[in-house]
C-alpha cells in the first residue's frame, strides 16, 4: 500500500465501503445540469451526501470586469435560463444605486409585471418537473402546456420567450403593447384556475401524496440556521420574502400578501408554489389594470460614479444578491452575485440524510436547483481531492505568476 491517501480517504470516506457509494451525477437523467453528489447508502437509505460542485462554472463575475456596464446587464441576464429577468433587474438596481437618477413609475410597474410573469413560468416549470421526477408524466405534460401561455404573453411584451432583455438602467427598453390588458387579465384568470385544479390533484392523488408527504422534512430552526431562502424558508413558516421585507420595483405600491406554510415537506413546497402562483397572477392583473402613464426610461451616461452598492431581489427560487463596485470607469471593478440555489443547497443536503434513494430526485429538485446559476469556483486537486481557500489577492498573485511563467516559457 502506498502512503499517499487515496481519493476516498482524503474525502473522509474511509469508513464507508465502496459498494455503498452510489454516484448521483454529474450526468444523470434527474439533473438538468451537471452536478455531482456522492450518496453513501445503507441498503436503500442515505446516510451521507457529499457534494462536488463546479461542473458548469462560467466565470461570469470575472467576465463582468472586462465589459461595459450596460453589456453586463444582458450578460447577467444569461446567468439563468429560467429566472433570467430578475438577474438583470437586481444587477440594474445595484448599479442604479450608484447613480442619482430616479426610475420612472411606469417602468417600475412593467418590471413588476415581467418579474411576476417569470415567477409564474418558473413555478409552473418546477411543478411539471416535480411530476416528472416523481414518475407522474401526465402532470408534467399538462403543466408545461399551460406554461406556454405565460411564455406567449412574455413574448408579446418583450419579443423574447426566455431572455427578455427588457431591462435598461433606470427604466425598461420596451413599453407594454397596446390593447393587451384584457387578454393578459383573462389568461391570468385561466392560469389561476389551472393552478387551483393542480392543487386539487396534488391534494387528492394518492400516488403523488405518497411520494411527497413527509418527504424531506426540515424544522424551521434548521432551515434558518442553514440560511434557506425563498420558498425553502417560507414552507417552514419563516417570513422571508424580499418583495415584502425590502420592496423594490413597484412592490410597495401594489397590495399583496406572501404565502407561508408550516408543512416542511415536499408536498408543502408543491402547495406553497402553486399558492404563490395564484398570488402572482393576481399581482399581474392588478399591475396591468393600474399601469401609470409616463416615460418608461431615463437615459444615463455610460460612466457610473465611483462607489459600491448592493441590491437584492426575490427570484422565483429565493433571494438573489448583487454587489457592484465602481471606480468611476467604463467597466465595473467588481461584481459579486449570490444565487438562491447556493443558499438552499446546505438545507437540501441536510434533508437528504435518512431518505431513501428513491427520494433523491424528488428532494434534491424540491429546492428548484439551478446549478448553472450557482456554480462557483473552488480550489480542488482532482488527484488527491484536497480543497483549499484563497483570498482575492492570493488568486490575483497566482494569475500574475501563471502568466509570467507562460510568457518566459514561450
Amino acid at each position: 500500500m502506498s502512503s499517499e491517501p487515496t481519493r476516498e480517504e482524503s474525502a473522509g470516506l474511509m469508513k464507508y465501503s465502496v459498494e455503498n457509494l452510489v454516484p448521483f451525477g454529474p450526468i444523470h437523467p434527474a439533473l438538468k445540469e451537471p452536478e455531482y453528489f456522492k450518496l453513501v447508502l445503507e441498503g436503500e437509505r442515505i446516510v451521507q451526501v457529499i457534494p462536488r460542485i463546479g461542473y458548469v462554472h462560467r466565470g461570469l463575475e470575472k467576465a463582468a470586469e472586462t465589459r461595459p456596464w450596460v453589456q453586463n446587464m444582458y450578460m447577467f441576464e444569461r446567468t439563468c435560463g429560467i429566472c433570467s429577468f430578475v438577474h438583470s433587474l437586481c444587477y440594474g438596481q445595484a448599479v442604479e444605486g450608484l447613480t442619482m437618477y430616479e426610475v420612472p413609475k411606469r417602468a417600475k410597474y412593467i418590471r413588476l409585471i415581467i418579474a411576476e410573469l417569470e415567477r409564474i413560468h418558473s413555478h409552473l416549470l418546477w411543478v411539471g418537473l416535480m411530476g416528472h421526477w416523481a414518475g407522474f408524466e401526465t402532470l408534467f405534460m399538462w403543466v408545461w402546456r399551460d406554461r406556454e401561455l405565460v411564455l406567449d404573453i412574455v413574448e408579446a411584451i418583450s419579443g423574447n420567450r426566455v431572455h427578455k432583455s427588457m431591462n435598461a438602467f433606470c427604466g425598461v427598453r420596451r413599453d407594454m403593447p397596446e390593447n393587451m390588458e384584457d387578454k393578459i387579465i383573462e389568461k391570468m384568470k385561466y392560469l389561476a384556475g389551472r393552478a387551483q385544479y393542480y392543487r386539487g390533484i396534488i391534494d387528492t392523488e394518492e400516488t403523488m401524496l405518497e411520494r411527497t408527504e413527509n418527504i424531506g422534512r426540515v424544522s424551521a430552526d434548521t432551515a434558518e440556521k442553514l440560511c434557506a431562502v425563498g420558498p425553502m424558508a417560507r414552507y417552514v413558516g419563516i417570513q422571508h420574502d424580499i418583495r415584502l421585507n425590502d420592496p423594490y420595483a413597484a412592490y410597495d405600491e401594489v397590495p399583496f400578501s406572501i404565502v407561508t406554510r408550516n408543512d416542511g415537506d415536499v408536498l408543502g413546497l408543491l402547495r406553497l408554489r402553486l399558492d404563490e402562483l395564484i398570488v402572482s397572477t393576481e399581482l399581474v392583473s392588478y399591475a396591468v389594470k393600474h399601469l401609470p402613464d409616463g416615460p418608461i426610461r431615463v437615459k444615463i451616461p455610460p460612466i457610473i460614479p465611483a462607489g459600491e452598492h448592493s441590491a437584492h431581489c426575490e427570484a422565483p427560487r429565493g433571494e438573489i444578491f448583487y454587489y457592484v463596485k465602481s471606480t468611476g470607469g467604463r467597466t465595473p471593478d467588481r461584481v459579486k452575485s449570490r444565487q438562491p440555489t447556493m443558499a438552499n443547497l446546505p438545507t437540501a443536503l441536510e434533508i437528504l440524510k435518512g431518505q431513501t434513494i428513491a427520494d433523491v430526485p424528488v428532494v434534491l429538485t424540491a429546492i428548484d436547483p439551478c446549478f448553472g446559476c450557482m456554480d462557483r469556483m473552488s480550489f480542488i486537486d482532482t488527484e488527491t481531492n484536497h480543497k483549499w481557500i484563497w483570498s482575492g489577492e492570493q488568486l490575483r498573485q497566482y494569475g500574475i505568476n501563471y502568466y509570467r511563467k507562460r510568457r518566459t516559457k514561450n
Partner: protein
C-alpha cells in the same frame, strides 16, 4: 401437420404474438399521448402504427456494447432466454377456439412457472451487467417480484378453485354461462394491479425508474439485446392481458351467429377483450405517479394479499352455501 406448424409459428402463434406486442406498444404510446395532450407517433405508417417496428429495427443495427465487468455469457444469452418466456406462455392461451395450441391438463402450473422463470431471468441478467444502477435495480426487482407474486397467484388460484380445473382450456370452457369476473371481481382487480407490477408499468415502474436509476436493469444493454428486451416487455404485456381475458373474461367465448365462421367470431371476441384489458392498463398507467418500493411492498402484502385471500374464502363459502354452482 402443416396447419399445426402454421398455427404455432405464424397465426395465432409466435409471429402473431410479436405483432400484437408492436400493436400494444403503439396503442400504449398513442393513449398516453392523447391523455397528456400530445399527438404521439404520427409519421411512420398510418397514424404512426409502424413506429414500434421502426424503433425495433433501428435498435437491431446499433452497436452492441458489453461492459468490461459484465458476466459476458449471461449478458449475451439471458435476453434470448427472457424472450422465450412470454412467447411460450402465449401458446397456452386459446384464441381461435376453445383449444389452445399447446395446452395440456395442468398448464396453469406451467404458466405460473414461466412467470417465475421470467422474473428470475431478468434478475440474473440485471445482475450480470454489474453496474451500480443495475445492482440497485436488481434489489428492487426481486423485492417487487416477491411482493406481487403471491397476490397474482392467489388471484389465479381463485379461478382454479372455483372451476375445479387446472388448465386454461378448462377454465375458459367453464365460463360459457357466466364470466369469472362477475363471480370474483376482487380477484380480477388484484390480478390487474399485480400484472402492472409484473410489467413494471407506473405506478410500479420502480425497477426501471428513469429519474432515479437511469434505465434500471436495462441500463447497460444496447443494440440487439436492448431491442429484444424491449420487445419482450411488450409481448409480456400482451400475454398478461391475454391471461386475464382467458381466466376472468371468458377467453374467446361470446354469442355465436349462424353463417359466420366460429373461428372468426372467437378471434374477434378475444381481440376486443384483449384490447379492453390493455386499454384499462394504458389508462391506469398514465393517470398514476410512481410509488416507492416500500410502499409497493406494503400495498401488496398488507392490502392485496388479504383481499385475494378473502375473495377465495368468499367464493368457497358461496359454493358451499349453494348460491354459486360449479359448472
Amino acid at each position: 401437420m402443416l396447419v399445426e406448424i402454421f398455427e404455432a409459428i405464424v397465426f395465432p402463434g409466435v409471429l402473431f404474438t410479436i405483432g400484437m406486442g408492436f400493436l400494444f406498444d403503439w396503442l400504449d404510446r398513442k393513449t398516453a399521448a392523447r391523455m397528456q395532450g400530445r399527438i404521439g407517433p404520427k409519421i411512420t405508417g398510418p397514424s404512426g402504427i409502424l413506429q414500434p417496428l421502426a424503433d425495433f429495427l433501428k435498435l437491431l443495427f446499433k452497436e452492441e456494447v458489453i461492459p468490461s465487468h459484465a458476466d459476458k455469457t449471461i449478458f449475451l444469452f439471458a435476453p434470448a432466454l427472457y424472450f422465450l418466456a412470454p412467447l411460450l406462455s402465449m401458446l397456452f392461451i386459446p384464441i381461435l377456439g376453445l383449444t389452445p395450441i399447446a395446452g395440456f391438463e395442468y398448464d396453469i402450473l406451467a404458466i405460473l412457472f414461466l412467470l417465475a422463470y421470467a422474473a428470475f431471468v431478468v434478475a440474473i441478467l440485471s445482475y450480470s451487467s454489474a453496474s451500480s444502477f443495475t445492482t440497485v435495480a436488481t434489489g428492487r426487482l426481486v423485492l417487487q417480484y416477491v411482493s406481487y407474486e403471491i397476490p397474482l397467484v392467489l388471484a389465479i388460484i381463485t379461478a382454479v378453485l372455483y372451476t375445479r380445473n387446472l388448465s386454461v382450456e378448462g377454465i375458459v370452457a367453464s365460463q360459457s354461462k357466466l364470466w369469472n369476473i362477475f363471480v370474483m371481481p376482487f380477484a380480477f382487480a388484484v390480478y390487474i394491479i399485480a400484472l402492472m407490477a409484473e410489467l413494471e408499468k407506473p405506478p410500479f415502474d420502480i425497477p426501471s425508474a428513469k429519474t432515479e436509476i437511469v434505465a434500471g436493469w436495462l441500463t447497460e444493454f444496447s443494440g440487439r439485446a436492448l431491442s429484444f428486451l424491449k420487445l419482450t416487455k411488450e409481448v409480456s404485456y400482451v400475454f398478461g392481458s391475454a391471461l386475464a381475458v382467458s381466466i376472468f373474461l371468458g377467453g374467446p367465448l361470446g354469442p355465436m351467429f349462424p353463417g359466420v365462421p366460429t373461428a372468426m367470431l372467437y378471434f374477434v371476441y378475444f381481440m376486443v377483450k384483449l384490447l379492453a384489458v390493455g386499454f384499462l392498463i394504458f389508462v391506469l398507467k398514465t393517470a398514476l405517479a410512481r410509488v416507492k418500493i416500500g410502499q409497493a411492498t406494503e400495498l401488496f402484502w398488507k392490502i392485496l394479499t388479504p383481499v385475494s385471500l378473502a375473495q377465495i374464502i368468499l367464493v368457497l363459502v358461496l359454493i358451499q352455501g349453494g348460491i354459486l354452482v360449479v359448472s
